[in-house]
Structures are given as C-alpha cells and as structure tokens.
C-alpha cells in the first residue's frame, strides 16, 4: 500500500512502497556496474531482499556511445522476499541515447526515466544511430515521468574546487547519478562513503574526495530541486533470522569449494582456463593461497582438466571450471575421469551457445552435453544450483558425492546465477557435517595383491594415493577387469563394468533427499524447472497459486540421477510444464525416463524468464476457466 509518510516544508513527499526495480544503463565506460553493485549492497545492508541482473556487452570496449557498448545493471530491492530482479522496471537511469533506446521498452508506463541531459547531443545521436533526441519524442513525454539532469556539468561543478581536469571529473558522474538515485529511493550514503574511503582514500585521495563530492552533489540535487517532488522508501524485509551478506554466484561457488576442502580435510587444486562467465571463480580462488588453494591457469581447457585429474590422483580435491565451449574440449578427459573413477568436480557456468554463442548472456542449454557428451556409456552425477547463494551448498554437496562414489561430478551453473547477487545467510561452518574421506593404508604384505577396483557398498573403489607403500597399481582409460583393474577386453567383464558404472551413479538417488515441492503434491499443473530459472518460476507459481490455481512448483537440483520420487510426482498432475532456457533438454530426459508427456515452455534469447511470461504460460494450460487478476500487479502495489 502506498503510504504518504511526510511532507516537508519544501513540498516533498515520501511514498513507502514494497519494492522498486531499477535499471542503470550507460556506455561501458560510464561505471554502471559499480553504481549497480553499490546500490545493491546499500539496499541489502538496509535489510531489503535484493536480486540483481547485470547485463554486460560481450566486447571489452565496443565503440563508445554505440548500442553494442551499452552496459546495464538491474536490481530489485524489496520489503518482501523476492526471487527475481524484476520483470518490468519502475525506474530507468540512462546516461546516453544508446542506453535509452536499447532499454526504454522495459520501463513500465508511468515509470521514472532519469536521463543525463549532457549525454544527449548530436554526436551521441549519430553513435546511437538515432535521428534526433529520443527524449523529446511525444510518446516519451506522455508515457513516463521524465527527469533530465545535466549530470556531467553538475559533476564538474561539484569537483571543480578539487582541481580535477574535465576528463577526470566526468568519470565521477556515475557517483553523481548514484547520489541522486539514493536520494530518490531513500538509500543511505554511508556504505558507499565507506567504499570510496576503503578503495581510494589511501592511494588516490583526490579521486576519493571527488567521488564523495559527486555523490553528495547528486543527493543534494534530488533533495533541493523542485523537479524531484517525490521520493520513495522501501522498508526492511522479514528474512529468516541470522547474519547476512550479499553474495554473487561465482563467489559462492569459490567459497563453497574451499568449505568442501575444509570439511573433507583435502587441499584444493583448481585447474582452469579463462572463459566468460567462469573466469571470476579463478580470480576469487587465486586470492586464497593462504587457505592452501593451488590455482593453475593451464595452457588450454584440456590441460586444465588433465591437471585436475592428476591432482586428484595424488589425493587432492581436484576442481576445474569452464563454460560450454571449454566443457566440449574437456569431454575426453572427463571420460577418462569416469574410467579412472577418481573424485573431481567439473563446473560449467553455462552461457548462450552454440559454439562461441553469446558469451555474456545466460542460457541453460548444456544439460544434454553434461549427460551424454562423452564417447561410450559414461554417466556421471550432475547438480545444478538454483541461485547465487545456493552455489555454496551445491559445491559442498558435489564434492561429497564425488568422494563417496569416486567419480567426477558436474555442476551446471549459468551466467545469470554467476553474476547475480542476493542476500545470503552466513552459515556456521563448525556445525556443518564433515565429508568423510578415507585412503587405504600402506602395507608391507605383498602376498595379497592390492585390488584397485574392489568396491564398497556405494560401488566406490578405494582411493589409494601414490606414495602409499605396497598399493602400487596402474590406472588407465582402457577397460579394466573388475576388482583387479587389469586391462581386459573380456565381453562379459565389459558388460559388467558398464552396468556397474551406471549403477554407481543411479544409486546415488537412494541416498539424497527426494524432490521437494512448493504447493500441493497433486493438482492440475506441475511446473518443473532447474538451474537459474528458480526465482522466476517460483514467483510465477506463487502468483498463480494466489490466483487460485492448483499449480505446484518442483525445482530440480539433482539432474543426474533425477530424484527417486520424481516420476511419481509427475504422474500426480494433469499437466507437467517444463520451462527451460533451451529447446527442451530436461523435458527430453524426463519424457524418456518416465514416459510422461511433459510440455515444454522454451525460450532461447539469452535472457532470463520474466515472471509475466511464465504466468501466461501456466495459465494457458489451465483446463477450467479461473478468475484471473492482472498478474503483474497482484503481488505488489507500486507507487505512482
């Protein structure tokens, strides 16, 4: 509900709203990502639930001012629990014409459009390939609440006293924009002031002063200028009690891997090759050498996988990460990992494909690659995190399965999760269950030959580590006799080994939690999703449930083996709808395994699902007519 909180003497009004979705867009060099992360952190610290969606261009520096060079950051902050960065924008901040024309379609009618007036001139129109000033189009004036602010000039004025040149002053304009946005949405300046101090005060004190001056000037502008009559406030959300921090997906993966190494008493070896959007995991882990983490930037993706296997062979926790094209290269090595039956983790931070595809856009089209892209029958367990924070838990679970079953395990993340952020309840590591690892002990007794392929109750073979006396053995990619590990071409043995390797993976389903659901375990429609679509699917199902539909949401995290109760669950609904950012991969797997005619809702545009389109898709499969409210507005009433 809108609550008019106060009317200052200057005639300003403050509205309390349950949430705001803002997108900040500018040229790649305009500092929009920094502005976005600051706004996110500040909002999280204020107790809001937040969700983000950074949208980078693929090139490092596309030509300035062009549409290809537009960099955007979207954040939703709310006083409710939210699961997506928002479908439709309440506010759009644009620093140049290119940013405006590429993003205006997502701003809702009546939404706030803040433009840097100084960024709109003939030169910029040409670069953005527009005929004239897009801000002056009638439709803009009629549809939105437009605020034209001479940000560049005002920033220069604000920092002029500090003696900075024009070019340096201009670089602070994102802090001016930040100040204005903070005022408009009732954000505190304190966290950003702290950030400026921590980052710049020591080495570049002039820059620190300039950024602070720009920030305060932006705030003051909003506060004093009559044009800005209304500001907003979003109160703290009721999250579960605990200590929180903001976390991004790749960061959570890195920390989860370190946690897994601690919980298992194993040193972490991370072999990798730079690739968007996985490189940040390397950048993060390489800072933690004092945790015993050894990172290895290999000469190529294959070497990264090979080194990882070599490290596991030696008794370390071996991890490698890449994106689609790199996983394709690692296929042969992963097959060897399956044959050697060594524990390791392979992370795919999925991006738009095929081939080089869309490096900075999100997609989830590598599931079938994870399942099948190795020669022969080479199954391995696959897990998929559902959100940035979930990456921490998934990393630990993946390593637990890897050592319990002596197998490579894949984690399927995606660009959206990797770069997105959300509040994360900080766990207490001491209370987390340890990951049990054992290695057979050395022996002087050579009368009993060591059997490297003897199996335990999980069908795992012993992890006998080089250096252990008396257990010398040779591993290899050739098929091997069960138990002894000798090379064998015997027909029955091969069948037995193929069956055993398959069983080793499928029986994991007996030891992991069954599939949980949001909603009733039976009903009309079951929405089955996986990976980074969790937030939008959950929110969409929530809205449909509130509209009275018998819809349930099952979000799968164990992709292989699929949960033991999933088949039964599918058969308990009239319709199974599988929204995927691919052409129907989980759908194919479930149809094949369960003989249930699941229906797909597929989008392969390099963009996440909007809640709106999912609600429409769900409702289109409702058999009986239901009362339907305007789904966009049903959960939250926005101001203005």
């Amino acid at each position: 509900m809108t609550k008019i909180l106060s009317e200052a003497a200057s005639g300003k009004t403050v509205h309390t709203v349950s949430g705001i979705t803002v997108r900040l867009c500018g040229d790649s060099g305009d500092g929009m990502q920094l502005l976005g992360t600051q706004l996110t952190n500040t909002s999280a610290l204020a107790g809001n639930d937040v969700a983000t969606f950074p949208d980078f261009p693929a090139e490092i520096r596309a030509p300035r001012g062009t549409r290809a060079g537009v960099s955007g950051f979207q954040v939703q902050f709310a006083s409710d629990k939210i699961f997506t960065p928002g479908d439709v924008l309440d506010a759009l901040v644009v620093m140049n014409p290119a940013a405006m024309v590429t993003n205006i379609a997502d701003l809702r009618k009546g939404g706030i459009l803040i433009a840097n007036e100084d960024g709109f001139n003939d030169k910029e129109y040409k670069l953005a390939k527009v005929e004239s000033n897009p801000l002056e189009a009638d439709i803009i004036q009629q549809s939105y609440r437009l605020f034209k602010v001479p940000m560049t000039k005002l920033t220069r004025d604000a920092v002029s006293a500090l003696g900075l040149g024009n070019k340096e002053a201009e670089r602070c304009k994102n802090f001016f924009a930040m100040g204005l946005v903070y005022w408009m949405f009732g954000r505190s300046l304190e966290p950003t002031l702290r950030f400026i101090n921590d980052k710049f005060a020591k080495k570049l004190p002039e820059v620190a002063k300039a950024n602070e001056a720009a920030l305060r000037a932006g705030w003051a502008y909003g506060e004093t200028t009559e044009a800005f009559g209304v500001s907003y406030q979003v109160e703290a959300a009721k999250l579960a009690p605990g200590k929180y921090r903001n976390i991004m997906g790749n960061q959570a993966l890195a920390w989860g891997l370190i946690a897994a190494s601690k919980l298992s008493g194993k040193e972490l070896f991370y072999g990798t090759y730079p690739i968007t959007p996985a490189s940040d995991i390397l950048h993060e882990l390489t800072r933690y050498k004092n945790f015993g983490v050894r990172t290895f930037q290999a000469e190529d993706e294959i070497a990264a996988a090979g080194a990882t296997i070599g490290a596991s062979f030696g008794g370390c926790m071996g991890v490698t990460a890449s994106s689609g094209p790199g996983i394709a290269l690692k296929a042969e090595a992963m097959g060897l990992g399956v044959m050697l039956e060594l524990p390791m983790i392979v992370i795919n931070v999925q991006r738009g494909g095929p081939s080089t595809g869309l490096p900075t856009k999100t997609e989830q089209s590598d599931l079938l690659q994870a399942m099948f892209a190795r020669n022969g029958e080479a199954p391995l367990p696959i897990l998929a995190p559902r959100s940035p924070g979930d990456c921490f838990a998934i990393a630990i679970e993946a390593w637990r399965i890897a050592v319990e079953c002596m197998t490579p395990v894949m984690i399927l993340s995606d660009g959206y999760i990797a770069n997105g952020s959300e509040p994360w309840r900080i766990p207490d590591l001491d209370s987390m269950p340890k990951i049990m690892v054992s290695h057979p002990e050395g022996t002087d007794d050579f009368s009993k030959p060591f059997l490297p392929y003897e199996r335990d109750e999980n069908l795992a073979r012993p992890w006998a580590v080089p250096g252990t006396p008396g257990l010398m053995h040779r591993l290899g990619g050739l098929e091997k006799e069960d138990r002894t590990g000798n090379v064998s071409y015997d027909p029955d043995n091969h069948q037995h080994m193929v069956n055993t390797r398959a069983r080793k993976v499928s029986e994991i389903a007996d030891r992991v939690p069954p599939q949980d659901v949001f909603g009733n375990p039976t009903g009309d429609i079951l929405v089955v999703s996986w990976g980074g679509t969790y937030g939008s699917c959950h929110t969409a199902v929530q809205r449909c449930q509130q509209d009275g539909l018998a819809v349930t949401h099952a979000h799968v995290r164990y992709m292989n083996p699929l949960p033991s109760n999933l088949g039964e669950l599918l058969r308990s609904f009239k319709t199974v709808l599988v929204p995927e950012l691919n052409s129907g991969q989980l759908r194919m797997l479930m149809r094949s395994k369960y003989l249930v005619d699941c229906i797909g809702f597929n989008k392969v545009k390099g963009k996440p699902f909007s809640v709106h389109e999912l609600v429409d898709a769900i409702k289109s499969h409702v058999s009986a007519p239901e009362v339907v409210t305007d789904s966009e507005e049903s959960l939250r009433h926005r101001a203005g």
Binding site: K243, A307, I309, G310, I426, R474
Partner: protein, 336 residues
C-alpha cells in the same frame, strides 16, 4: 633401519608384456628397471604417466604407481600430480606422435614451466599402435600407410622444439645402445627441472631400420657423436673426425688436418642455447647426430617449487586462512 635394496626384478609388474617381439621398447624398459634401483627412491614414490601409443603401454609393466591417460595429454596429468605431490618422482612416457602431434601444445608448456618431471620420448618415426601412419618425425618422402605417395610434411625435431621452449635438460639416446641409455636416464632423473630424453626406438614391424645408421653397432661410430660435457667433440670408428665451429656454422673436420684444440668443446651447462640448438640440428647423413646430454642447466626454478612456494609465502604473510572469518567479512547485517 635397513632399507630394502631393490633390484631390477622388483620393478617388474605381474603383467605380460604385449610389445611385438624385437621392439625397441623392451630395451628401454630393461634399462629403466636397471636405473631405478640406483636412484634410491622407493617404488611407491614413483609414478609413470603415459599417453597413447605403443610407448604408452609402459606403465603397465612397472611395479610402481602409473596412469595410462589420453593421447598427447600425459604432461597435463603430470603437472597436476607433481604440483600437488612434489614428493613423488614422476616420469612421463610418450612417443613421437603422442608428444609432437596431438600433444605438441602440452609438450611445449611442460618444458617451459620446468616442472620437475622426466619425459622419455620414444621416437620410432611412425605411428605403430594404429599400424603404420606417418608421424611428425617421419622423413619427407617416406612411404607409409597414410602416405602412399610419400610424406609431404617437413619433420619436426623434438630436441629443437624443446630447446626453443627453454628446456633445462635435453638429451638423446638409442634403444640399442644400452649402457648409454641407462646413463642418460639416470642423469635425467638426477636433474632438477624438466628432463627430456628422446630415445631412438626401432619399430621392427612398421618402420624397421629407420634409424639403423645410429642403432646398428657397425654404423654407429661414423654416424653418431657421443657428447661429453667439457670434452672436444670427436667421433668416428677411429676417433679421427671432429666438429668445429667456424663462424656461425658447425663443420665436420678431419683430425688429420685440424688440431684437437680447435674443436668445439661441448658445454651442456651453457644457459644460452644457441650452440645447443645447432647441435640438435645435426642430421645424418650430412652430419653425425649427437647423443648424450645436449643441455643440462641447473638452478632454474621449477613450477612445482614455485606453486608451493607461493602458497607457503601467502600463509606466512597473511596467516592460515580462516574461512569463517572470510565469509563473515565485508558488509554484513543481522536479521533478528
């Protein structure tokens, strides 16, 4: 405490050897089993990692730890293993196809990183396991299964490639020259850094006699020069020929009209590889081919030392990492 004295037989595994009778690989295996006991390293501390090829069956025949990996990639497994387990003695067994064709990239990088492993490259100038296709070291014009009209590639020289990658130990020996082979393997093991040993190996089924000029005892003295550090370069059945550096070229000279003092003195420890490069390029029949240690530069930092040093340094500088502190750090807030 009495440590067991190991013999060659202690290193034999219980597997039947499947190489063709007459294959040069038997000789290399025999020499390895002779050398290993002399190194004083317990069997459990030794690991053989191979790629794919006849050469790469080697680990199965050694009673040590071993991994028969994938084609061309053995150096990558060795890198992960040695970096995390510097206490192990790691051997990479490879071949001319495995190391120089599909594995060329990894070959270069393991050498430039100077990982403390020993690479033995069985060069038979053919693809034996897949039955007779040409390899990157096959000669131009060679008729093989895949080149019925003759090889049109120019061959690659593994020693030149290794020197170009700044390898710190580069050597060559011959399967049939058993004492020499044993000595070279031993020196390779003793070197700290990547040791590359190219072994001329006869594939009697698909490329028999390709290097007979070097392998046949009767021909060897005239066609091969055994390098010795600090000694003048002399060869020939009657030790009547030498190598002289004239300007920027190496020349074969007769000791009838050239003084020994004017001969090139082999310097394996010279860190500038220029002369060593010239030695690597000496090819039959124009020049005698060098065997022995072309290059052995000690004191160059190894990858395994450095990667572990940085970890220790980080711990010393910042203290042991505390994950709970890390995840609690930065901007946090409490919901009560």
């Amino acid at each position: 405490m009495n440590l067991p004295v190991l013999k060659a037989a202690d290193f034999a595994s219980n597997q039947d050897i499947r190489w063709c009778p007459g294959c040069g690989d038997y000789s290399i295996l025999a020499q390895m089993k002779k050398v290993l006991p002399e190194l004083g390293v317990p069997r459990e501390k030794i690991v053989f990692i191979s790629g794919i090829g006849c050469s790469s069956r080697f680990p199965y025949y050694m009673n040590t730890y071993g991994m028969h990996s994938i084609h061309g990639r053995a150096p990558t497994f060795a890198t992960g293993l040695k970096s995390t387990r510097p206490d192990l003695m790691v051997w990479v067994i490879t071949g001319d196809g495995d190391a120089l064709s599909i594995g060329g990239n990894h070959f270069i990088h393991v050498l430039r990183r100077n990982l403390d492993v020993n690479i033995v490259l069985f060069n038979n100038r053919i693809y034996g396991l897949t039955k007779g296709q040409y390899s990157p070291t096959s000669l131009e014009g060679q008729i093989t299964k895949s080149t019925p009209m003759g090889v049109i590639d120019h061959p690659l020289n593994p020693l030149s490639l290794a020197l170009a990658a700044e390898a710190t130990f580069v050597a060559r020996s011959i399967d049939a020259h058993v004492t020499h082979l044993g000595e070279v393997l031993k020196r390779a093991a003793q070197h700290k850094g990547t040791s590359l040993v190219e072994v001329y190996q006869n594939c009697n089924v698909f490329n028999d006699g390709a290097m007979a000029y070097a392998q046949e005892k009767s021909q060897r003295a005239e066609n091969v020069i055994e390098l010795e550090h600090g000694k003048p370069m002399i060869f020939g059945k009657n030790r009547d020929k030498g190598i002289r550096l004239i300007g920027t070229k190496l020349e074969v000279v007769s000791l009838k009209d050239t003084a020994i003092d004017d001969l090139l003195i082999h310097d394996e420890r010279e860190s500038n590889p220029s002369i060593q490069m010239m030695l690597a390029r000496m090819r039959y029949p124009d020049m005698p081919e060098p065997i022995g240690v072309l290059r052995a530069v000690e004191g160059v930092s190894t990858y395994d030392d450095q990667i572990n040093h940085q970890v220790e340094l980080a711990k010393a500088q910042r203290g042991m990492g505390d994950l709970q502190s890390l995840i609690n750090s930065g901007d946090t807030w409490v919901v009560s």
